[in-house]
């Protein structure tokens, strides 16, 4: 399953009424903050999302009442901490519909998840003359790890294209596929344009030529319901802090046969079966890829975040965000001089924009003074900026806690930016 729930752009009402946004907002203490004397409008969740009280409490409770190292301690606290920690692995597996909890590897971030695949699977299976495919909308984290490996191995990196609206061009992608293609490393949602990529179809096509597929789910997992078995991807990575969990924890899902074929990533404690100076053997996945003390409290916090999101329901969250997106799109489109960058048909609740005659940094600075937090710049997607012929954008990225008032405040702040800057 990889879908967004459409909503009537005009009314935006049914699902938004069913979704009690004001109650949801109560769960996020930071939203009560005032910035420069103005109530906070947080539209930078695409960079890092705010945390509900249950996540803050879970991390706090862990450190306060049962924290200990996991897996090997011969005492009560270690056993309890291990139990809670390992339950999260199962929770994640259920959340993304992985075959089992053993398909779920804890990493420090999605960046590490991708680097793990590059340095283990990539180093073992990619050869000179092979090809891998990325897309024009990738974050640097899904470009640079492959370039670093390319420098050593000498495979080719092909780039799948988008059109001027930010729509993924499936036909041009198909044309890039060949028996030489060994990997397609692609995001399911552009962090700049919000474009939802057809990763299920991309995966099917890639598998037809025998290529593996890695999906960078950093943005997608936050906005759309992900089912890795339905997608049939070989790897799926995402990060904890964008899905309302703590920083310092990421996930790599992998199909078991693929994971078993991969050598360890980092060496250290916990990932070994037996160590001796005559030779060392390693654990089975997922532990083979988890060297050293893991981010224990962060994993437990992520578990609380996944439960929170699951309780709200991804379909409800998606419908709510789609309503906001439609509302914001309608209002921003009506402002003279505002250009929305990225108008794909399937979009997550991310709006990049420019105001004619202004620099995006100036606009974001004025928005900030109005209490509206956005992100500005190339968003770690410089190749996409080059493709679009721009230096950067102002990006408003919505989360499950944003409401129509936030959109209205954004619109008012844009008006103020125009007054001050033009």
């Amino acid at each position: 399953m990889n879908k967004i729930v459409p909503i009537d752009a005009q009314s935006g009402s049914n699902s938004m009424d069913a979704y009690d946004i004001e109650r949801v907002r109560e769960d996020f203490p930071i939203l009560k903050q005032h910035i420069y004397g103005k109530s906070l409008v947080f539209l930078d969740s695409g960079a890092s999302a705010q945390k509900p009280q249950v996540v803050i409490d879970a991390v706090h409770e862990c450190y306060e009442t049962y924290y200990s190292n996991v897996h090997r301690g011969a005492h009560f606290l270690s056993q309890k901490c291990t139990d809670v920690y390992e339950q999260v692995r199962g929770q994640i597996a259920t959340f993304i519909n992985a075959q089992s909890e053993n398909n779920v590897i804890f990493t420090s971030s999605v960046t590490e998840s991708i680097n793990l695949v590059a340095q283990t699977w990539g180093r073992k299976f990619l050869k000179k003359g092979d090809e891998i495919i990325v897309s024009e909308v990738e974050h640097h984290a899904n470009i640079v790890p492959w370039q670093l490996l390319q420098d050593e191995i000498g495979f080719d990196i092909k780039v799948a294209k988008i059109d001027d609206q930010g729509e993924f061009l499936l036909d041009t992608f198909k044309a890039l596929l060949s028996p030489k293609t060994k990997l397609v490393a692609i995001t399911d949602c552009s962090n700049v344009l919000g474009t939802i990529l057809p990763v299920k179809e991309i995966t099917r096509l890639a598998h037809e030529v025998g290529a593996k597929v890695l999906v960078d789910g950093t943005q997608g997992i936050v906005h759309i319901w992900v089912d890795v078995q339905d997608l049939d991807c070989d790897f799926y990575g995402f990060t904890g802090h964008k899905i309302y969990g703590p920083t310092g924890v990421g996930i790599l899902y992998g199909k078991m046969d693929v994971l078993k074929s991969m050598p360890p990533y980092q060496g250290g404690g916990d990932m070994i079966d037996k160590v001796s100076f005559s030779g060392t053997t390693f654990q089975e996945p997922p532990y083979r890829f988890e060297a050293g003390t893991p981010p224990i409290a962060q994993v437990i916090g992520l578990g609380a975040a996944i439960k929170y999101v699951s309780d709200l329901g991804m379909e409800n969250i998606s419908a709510h965000e789609q309503g906001l997106l439609a509302y914001a799109n309608e209002l921003l489109s009506a402002i003279e001089g505002v250009q929305i960058i990225g108008q794909a048909k399937d979009k997550a609740a991310i709006i990049s924009f420019l105001i004619e005659g202004t620099h995006p940094f100036d606009v974001a600075a004025v928005l900030d003074r109005q209490g509206v937090a956005t992100r500005v710049g190339h968003h770690c997607a410089e190749p996409l900026m080059d493709r679009l012929g721009i230096v950067g954008t102002v990006r408003a990225s919505f989360g499950l806690y944003n409401n129509k008032d936030d959109v209205d405040r954004l619109v008012a702040a844009i008006g103020r930016a125009k007054e001050l800057l033009l």
Partner: protein, 149 residues
């Protein structure tokens, strides 16, 4: 160095008198708007004068006359343009030795709390560049970077 330059004192006094952060922010925007394209001609907006590491593009030049450094600069963003104008105006007309006496405290006295941390870091980087120009006896940003100034 008790007094830096008359222009520095003017800016510091003006910003001190504005007790509202939003107004101070708008003052900087106004400063940026006052900088006209012809104040820093296109011919100077070239790579050798471009500062690296800035979120917007910033060009800086140093002209040395009678042993004193006169700075000018430009940016494609209005706020940064205003800051560059204030920094260049504040610290122009100083000798190499006087430039070396400048500290981050001198920049802080300009009372630019309305700016984000990133921009304040940019201001400090600009100050360091002025001091480097002083030590190098002029030149371009590119020459400072390569050590050939």
């Amino acid at each position: 160095m008790n007094s830096i330059t008359p222009q520095y004192e003017d800016y510091a006094d003006a910003l001190e008198m504005i007790d509202d952060e939003d107004m101070r922010f708008e003052y900087i925007i106004d400063m940026g708007k006052k900088v006209k394209d012809e104040d820093f001609p296109e011919a100077l907006r070239i790579d050798p004068n471009l500062m690296h590491g800035c979120m917007s593009r910033v060009w800086l030049c140093d002209e040395v006359r009678d042993g004193k450094h006169y700075f000018s600069g430009f940016s494609d963003a209005i706020i940064v343009k205003g800051l560059v104008a204030m920094m260049a105006g504040s610290f122009s007309g100083l000798t190499t030795d006087e430039l070396q006496e400048l500290t981050t405290g001198h920049v802080r006295r300009l009372n630019l709390g309305a700016l984000t941390t990133q921009r304040q870091v940019g201001m400090m980087a600009m100050l360091e560049t002025f001091k480097k120009f002083g030590l190098a006896g002029g030149g371009t940003i590119a020459q400072l970077r390569s050590g050939s100034a």
